[in-house]
Symmetry: C3
Subunit: 364 residues, 3 copies
């Protein structure tokens, strides 16, 4: 059983030049510069860690050609060391999977697959998974134990659903998706009409679906609701972390990244290549342009029309000090008015020709 790669193999498969006395050194894993042992491959993604190369016990290192002279270790030379490290991590994950003997693709005997579903070739369906009528599972998919694939769902080829993922009816998932356990796609969006006659909320049935592009990863226990009339849409290459909530009829642009525990209320449109930090809340019916970064735990309650970095919230303080400041914050508009009054008095004192009254100034 294969348990390692030679440096030569890595150089070839990662498509980066090797600078080493021999291409035959065996590499059996990845590690940080600090913790690497013999047989492991480390990486320098940031010049500021270059000093750590001195005591590094790795058998080789991924490094930018311009920095390679800083070490005598065997080097895989990459102009994007972090990207090369990412690709190497995938090689070692494949190696690990082959060791775990996931076995030949097959449908487990306890899975319940409708005769009216279409299952591609080289598909694995785990124990107790359910695939309803009209579902289409593309070639090479792996559907984990206990997953539920509703009627009319399409899952694109080479997608991986970890155990206990739930896809409601008519959800469309692109190719090479990775959906982690606990993910729920296509539950009803949250829509009600309040009936004043009966003082009751009347459910708006959610008649749209969810369309998810290619190369999307969605983290554990994240939820994407189906649309009310039109679909909720997630673009290609979007990466969503754990416990993220995407409301109905949102549109998330290609290659946008959404970190853990963030939430998009309904009908919000986010552009391409945005980065939404963790714990961010975005209210409904907003529009955010391409290339916007929102820092962690911010609240977005207005549309964002220019690319840039945005934040809200307050900084952590010792609680006693924090309390004094937030109590003051509760009177801040008053304080601002007081300061304006003082300023005006001082200006009147020094320049008596200033005849504006406070009220006029207040409307500036």
């Amino acid at each position: 059983m294969k348990v390692s790669f030679t440096l030569g193999e890595l150089s070839e498969r990662l498509d980066v030049p090797l600078r080493a006395p021999s291409p035959d050194v065996e590499i059996n894993g990845l590690a940080t510069l600090e913790s690497a042992r013999e047989g492991q491959l480390a990486f320098v993604s940031n010049p500021k860690y270059i000093r750590q190369l001195a005591g590094c016990n790795a058998s080789a290192v991924i490094i930018h050609p311009d920095l390679a002279e800083a070490t005598e270790l065997p080097c895989l030379l990459s102009t994007s060391p972090y990207v090369t490290f990412a690709r190497a991590s995938q090689l070692f994950a494949e190696l690990r999977d082959s060791q775990r003997q996931l076995g030949v693709p097959h449908v487990h005997q306890t899975a319940v697959v409708s005769l009216d579903a279409v299952v591609g070739t080289q598909v694995t369906i785990g124990p107790h998974a359910v695939v309803e009528a009209g579902a289409i599972i593309g070639d090479g998919c792996r559907i984990g134990a206990g997953c539920y694939i509703g009627s009319g769902v399409h899952v694109g080829s080479d997608s991986v659903l970890y155990p206990n993922v739930t896809l409601y009816h008519d959800v469309k998932i692109g190719e090479r998706a990775i959906l982690h356990s606990g993910v729920v796609i296509g539950a009803d969006g949250f829509g009600f009409a309040f009936d004043k006659a009966t003082m009751r909320s009347v459910k708006i049935a959610q008649l749209g679906a969810v369309r998810i592009g290619d190369d999307v990863e969605i983290g554990a226990s994240s939820t994407v609701d189906r649309g009310a009339l039109d679909d909720t849409v997630i673009g290609n290459g979007v990466k969503i972390d754990n416990q993220v909530q995407i409301g109905h009829n949102c549109v998330v642009g290609d290659h946008t990244v959404i970190c853990g525990c963030s939430a998009l209320a309904g009908s919000t449109r986010i552009g391409r290549y945005c980065v939404i930090g963790g714990g961010v809340g975005i209210t409904g019916h907003l529009s955010i342009v391409d290339g916007v970064t929102v820092s962690a735990m911010s609240m977005v309650s207005q549309s964002i029309e220019r690319p840039g970095v945005y934040s809200s919230g307050t900084l952590l303080q010792e609680s006693t000090q924090w309390k004094r400041n937030v109590v003051s914050l509760g009177k801040l508009s008053e304080l601002t008015r007081t300061v304006r009054n003082i300023e005006r008095r001082l200006q009147q004192g020094s320049s008596p020709e200033s005849g504006k009254t406070y009220d006029e100034r207040g409307r500036d």
Copy 2:
């Protein structure tokens, strides 16, 4: 197979008058004014969208009688167009379900249903669902694949549990509930006594249960914990969005709406007809009266005694500007003191009879 309703049928089933040349026009779906095509029914819920009626391609529109002269389209006349739209959405959802041939109610052969459970008539139990001893499933319920119904659970009639819902022992669910995938009801509340002798947290077993009223909907991956001694209680008509957390011994009043990702810590009581925005956090042991609205991402750390709209948090800014402001916020109580001092000096200057010292003023 039925794939549409005539306008006449819709008028009758929605109980609203029809103004149209013919009641026989076939309607096969709902859409917005903007996107509606022939054969679809649109709606005007807000007079400000009335201009969109001009170019609308819908075959009919739900509209308030007072606005109906603005269009020559066939009209379903409703004094609550949005509520009528909601009811229409439910009709089309039924139509879609009948097309999907959910089949006659039955217990799937792979479901594990205790002989000591009581299952009503017209009940569907999906593949791999589990119903433990002492559970009671009311008439007309649909229990999705992979659901777990613990011992002693009651589920009221005509309730729908989507796949992979978990109900712990002794949970009571009212009639017509809708529980989405990933919902967990009745997990242990978070209670520990810290034992200083051993420096360990000692678990407080959660001996209460959860009682949920009629007509409650709970969104995907939301959690409602069981009570410590008494029960956690959710009133009738409560609507809970995705990823909401309700702590042990909370009481949520009838017809209150809780948006996504909000959290109630333990033993908090919320009144009737409240609206809790998304991402709101409410600390424990508080009491909130009827008719309170809390805006998205607010933190509620004190009881609310008057109906109204409440908020906390700060507005989004470009990060550089935000940073300057929050650093200033960290010194705000100091700034407030400085301004008071200035004010006092100026008052003493202009009105020397003001003999208050700073300390006295500080206590105002």
Copy 3:
């Protein structure tokens, strides 16, 4: 069937002295002072509730010896009444479980347990659970219905997994764990290298695992991600509430408590005996010392180097007032500068020897 304990039994099993006319009084449950009925045991954990003893209908009370003279009820005397109450709650939970006849430990016939898994003695595995090759389930464990135990997972003895828990491959769980429904341990950490050449995110395969200590409880739908290279580590005695997210490579110290809906971004280290309130967000790569308390909904974006209580966020206000204040907050650094200018002018006025210019002061 046993349905109660005598006071004598409770005294013995809780290891606290009894002060009562007779040890034979039957106790069938626990309750608060306020709601207790005959046959129930109440407790006084805080002297301020001592007045409620007057009207209390309990048959006995757990109380500190120093307060016992305040009542004539039979007393279980404990110097830590709340801890004794916690232990009593566990006794009554055992009683309830024995009434529910959980039955003799067994592997349900619908469970799919690999022949290459090792299952200890006295283990219960529920319907439709899956245990993969190489997994080790310790003695006395209870694995709920629909749980997924990945390959190479170890679950320590006497652990309880409620239904629908998912453990990815190679996760290690200590002894006496309690994992609630919807928990996902070992999903991929959120790591990507952005490749500017292709403008795509390249997945960093997550090659580490998760190690969880003994006596850990994790609430419903919480998620703990596997490490990128090294493991994510949760210490002994850690208690985690519902819907908490722990990012890859975090290290949580022993006996730390994390309340609901909090999130730790990647590679953050939290000390021992910390208390993280609900809805707290902690950004990545931080370090928090032992004994830190963070109040609910705070954002932690810098390391914390001293024990203490910390907060961020703002207080709830009526929305109209809140809006005025946060608009002012958006100009706070400007206001601060204005006040400094005024102060300077006033100081120059009264003490003309002050020759500092504004710019110099601005850099103080």
